[in-house]
Symmetry: C3
Subunit: 445 residues, 3 copies
Amino acid sequence: MTDSLDIYLNTVNQGDPERIGVAMHRLMAELYPICRSITGEGVRETLRILQRLIPLEIHEVPTGTPVFDWTVPKEWNIRDAYILDGQGKRVVDFKKSNLHVISYSQPVHKKMSLDELRKHLVSLPEHPDWIPYRTSYYNENWGFCLSHRQLEAMHDDEYEVCIDSSLTDGHLTYGEYLIQGQSQDEILISCHICHPSLCNDNLSGIALATQLAAQLASQGKPRYSYRFLFIPGTIGSITWLALNEAQAGRIRHGLVVTCVGDGGQFTYKQSRRGDAEIDRAAIHVLKHSGAAWTMQEFFPYGYDERQYCSPGFDLPVGCLMRSPHGSFPEYHTSADNLDFVRPEFLEETLHRYLDVVEILEHNRTYINLNPKCEPQLGKRGLYQAIGGDSEAAKKQLAMLWVLNLSDGKHSLLDIAAKAACQFGIIRSVAEVLVQHGLLREFVEV
Amino acid sequence: MTDSLDIYLNTVNQGDPERIGVAMHRLMAELYPICRSITGEGVRETLRILQRLIPLEIHEVPTGTPVFDWTVPKEWNIRDAYILDGQGKRVVDFKKSNLHVISYSQPVHKKMSLDELRKHLVSLPEHPDWIPYRTSYYNENWGFCLSHRQLEAMHDDEYEVCIDSSLTDGHLTYGEYLIQGQSQDEILISCHICHPSLCNDNLSGIALATQLAAQLASQGKPRYSYRFLFIPGTIGSITWLALNEAQAGRIRHGLVVTCVGDGGQFTYKQSRRGDAEIDRAAIHVLKHSGAAWTMQEFFPYGYDERQYCSPGFDLPVGCLMRSPHGSFPEYHTSADNLDFVRPEFLEETLHRYLDVVEILEHNRTYINLNPKCEPQLGKRGLYQAIGGDSEAAKKQLAMLWVLNLSDGKHSLLDIAAKAACQFGIIRSVAEVLVQHGLLREFVEV
Amino acid sequence: MTDSLDIYLNTVNQGDPERIGVAMHRLMAELYPICRSITGEGVRETLRILQRLIPLEIHEVPTGTPVFDWTVPKEWNIRDAYILDGQGKRVVDFKKSNLHVISYSQPVHKKMSLDELRKHLVSLPEHPDWIPYRTSYYNENWGFCLSHRQLEAMHDDEYEVCIDSSLTDGHLTYGEYLIQGQSQDEILISCHICHPSLCNDNLSGIALATQLAAQLASQGKPRYSYRFLFIPGTIGSITWLALNEAQAGRIRHGLVVTCVGDGGQFTYKQSRRGDAEIDRAAIHVLKHSGAAWTMQEFFPYGYDERQYCSPGFDLPVGCLMRSPHGSFPEYHTSADNLDFVRPEFLEETLHRYLDVVEILEHNRTYINLNPKCEPQLGKRGLYQAIGGDSEAAKKQLAMLWVLNLSDGKHSLLDIAAKAACQFGIIRSVAEVLVQHGLLREFVEV
């Protein structure tokens, strides 16, 4: 990452604090009505909208393609679905909410009694106004989700049910965007795109990843290459890893982006390694964010980090989110809507992502070229170089920390942790020390 | 350990919860009146009673045999002992409690004043009805223990004291029982048999070790060989180690059994290594027992673990007990009697030992044969294989943990610890995964 | 350290508890009026007084000598300084307190208005009666420090300012004293001598180091050689390290002595290594001192440990003090005077230093010569050997700890930490065990 990006980030920071948040929220609102699933037209339509903002490449992988232990499934598309009561009234209507149909439901069109139909209905008695979200990807099945009030209003009657869907050979569709950096080493940013009208999980992730990509791409060449994946959950990451197995080792750091728009506190779920640089960078950012936060050790459940962190890959991929999946009642219901996520929270989360990127871009290990006793900072004007502002004392101590620990064994991030000092200050004084010939980068041979 | 043992254990678990506890308590009651010491007929009689239950081998090691820095002592036997007052009344009578004589007292028969006698009397003023337990193994001495009330009732008089004991060349006697397993690697279960009428320390240990041996022997060949030692404290373990030095290295795990029948909470004292498999197994069992428990780091005091954990052996031998020695007022007094230990506590402790055995028998390290991304569990019917019961979610997560961490570096016990999940669940899902060809055992070469 | 020193230390411990404290305080009182700086006659006069007590060698390093990144500065001397008001009254007078002149002030003699003069005046509004202490070593400057009440009493007037100082080629002066021990390995005791009339920082350090040197020298040859440095802060340690670079590796343990006379609780600042023997010894002493104490992890600020712990040396040098610099309001003001430090605190700190010395002198690693099972302590009379006093049980357990952990991997200090037992007890039982042929010293080959 070059100085120009830094300047840009400064501009962003000084700009209207909600401008970018509002833009992300607007993108979510545009994507909200589309009926997405792990395959089908909804995914394509979504990716085409993102192409207006970033030059996403759309990949199509044919049904039946073997991907490790899995097979790319049939493509699912749906045109309409409803339940008619005896009077011909639509008591459940897919056109009102795409959550009404269990995702990957097989086509059905028949009449049946309420008792027969009940086996195919799902509601949430504890939240009688909310429609639950359910899927049946790898079981042949069909069904409807509806609010408990809708269910209670139904009575003994003959109902006509129709799901006008198709399950046919087709493709699994995903989007990919690589920002070429100075190095072939990559930072992976991955989000899932298979959820229909659900906002925190995971339109918020799609919006944030898109915005982050746009910002990084608008700058000079960064240090790392950045790979953005917009993929269906589970089968998408498995497919990408199967088709790109040889290159997966280039991924040096990675984050799965999900649940980034609610008002809950930040949560970082560690990679399987636990002490990877991405883990330490994310924790550093949250520690210095000034707000409460939570850390989760890795567990093999959740989102696509399950695949990236499978033992055959063990990639350093964590998950930086706000409220974790399953921890908020709105999760996987119609209440995870455009009101549940707010522009200011999206914006704040984006800043935490940019803070992590700043660390990864600038984390280096240096060698103190005057390791015996302290160098004389005064004669070099270094006390002036760091400025006489209110942070001067902090910067002066940071300079001593960097000099003391730059022995080839401590990166700037390690030093920031030992000094309990923001990475940005450690980094800026290290740059001053390099300019004054007191440090050089340590390169392992 | 084969499946048949598992079935047996299940039977035990489903049977009358107190049946085995009552049997152990009955055995203690039978052994209670016998006057045991570190040598002598009391030990032989005790071991002969145990031979009715398990095919114990009785070893006799001659007096004078050098055993490392020690020498097998003379054999001590006692027929009678008493103190007569001026009227010829037995004010202290060995036949009423064998605790009345300091163990290893030399023979004595003479008359003396109360003042002279006092130097040979021990009582407990703070518990005036209890008789203390004292020994004088390696000092030539004699004496009586009596309740403080007995002492207070004695007045200036001429007393006739008699200890009809003998200290002669003879043998040190101990019992040994090896259950041959599939491997030469051994699990050591050691208890001391040198205490006279004292229950928690250590008739409870004798009863539990006997019952455990009987249960293990009634099954098919276990994975490990099990060596049960019934030995006098200190000199017994030193003797066994001296005579079996070359084979001591076969001991892969071990437990000293003592104080296992009182109502106190469980305590695990670590082996000297602290992180041996036995340590982690015992801690796992207590952590998941649902009750409060305590861990003690190793210290070079206590029971025979002192010898097994001496630096020249450093065997992985811990101590799984309830209230530790010295922590309950009844310790080493006549109040450590058949009422102080209860069948239900013995039974509960036996189950903790069986839980540890289950872990050691089944703890293996596996290799995930599908390490790249998760395998597709659904198509293999694995969600059904683990059952749809209330534990289904726990088992499904356990399956993901086993797959994620089966990289040859984590045993099932390691995985159970990381997943904070009972070993039994981890083990059962691992077996299912093996059956489905997703895991194979990892064998270090 | 031989037994004779131990006897001496015992004498000290049993003597008048304040005798040595009073002597140290008296030495401070004698040194108090002298105007010290990083160079100059004040330093020489100070060292000459110390020579009356210990055979200090006085080194003179010429101005201009390059020492790593630094250069030995000009020598600064001052005869008089004052501010006269319009009536010729000395409103500020160097003869009343040498803190009144900023150290290293250039000579000046001129008349000026109060407004012009203000730029050269420093006071402490929050402590209106205290004179602050300021320096300007490496900037050409001049100025006066005065109490805020003095400042407030000044009014618009023409003032005559005079600083009769000189900055000329000369020498940097420091004192060094080596007590030759049995080994070339050294323990470094370093204190700074550049502060004028300031007591806790650091006349207390000078007095303590001198007393410690006198005591150690009055004994037989210690195990280690002890190097005492009396040097100006920063430039002094840099100079010593530059001139003695080849021998610095002999320093096996070290302490910087400062702020050792106030009534605050003890503080130990770790060496950069954090787990060096000196760190563990100092922590052990404070843990067993019976009083509250604090540990600070190393940070690259403070006193000369900054230089000793620079990455090119990384010497195991910590700092054992009472209230750390900057943590008490009197720090670097005229209130850090002879009342602020008390004989009893100096005395107590000296004892902590002697406790650390005792550990370093006696910390050895042994091999248990009877490693298989416990040796029979009774037959060797070892229970008697350790005495039947109130500490007998503690000593007996200590003996078992030493035997159990003397495997060549645990030093006595390690054993003391594991056993949570005072080093002195561990050491004394180890000596008994050596005498009885049960231990021998472990020498790595």
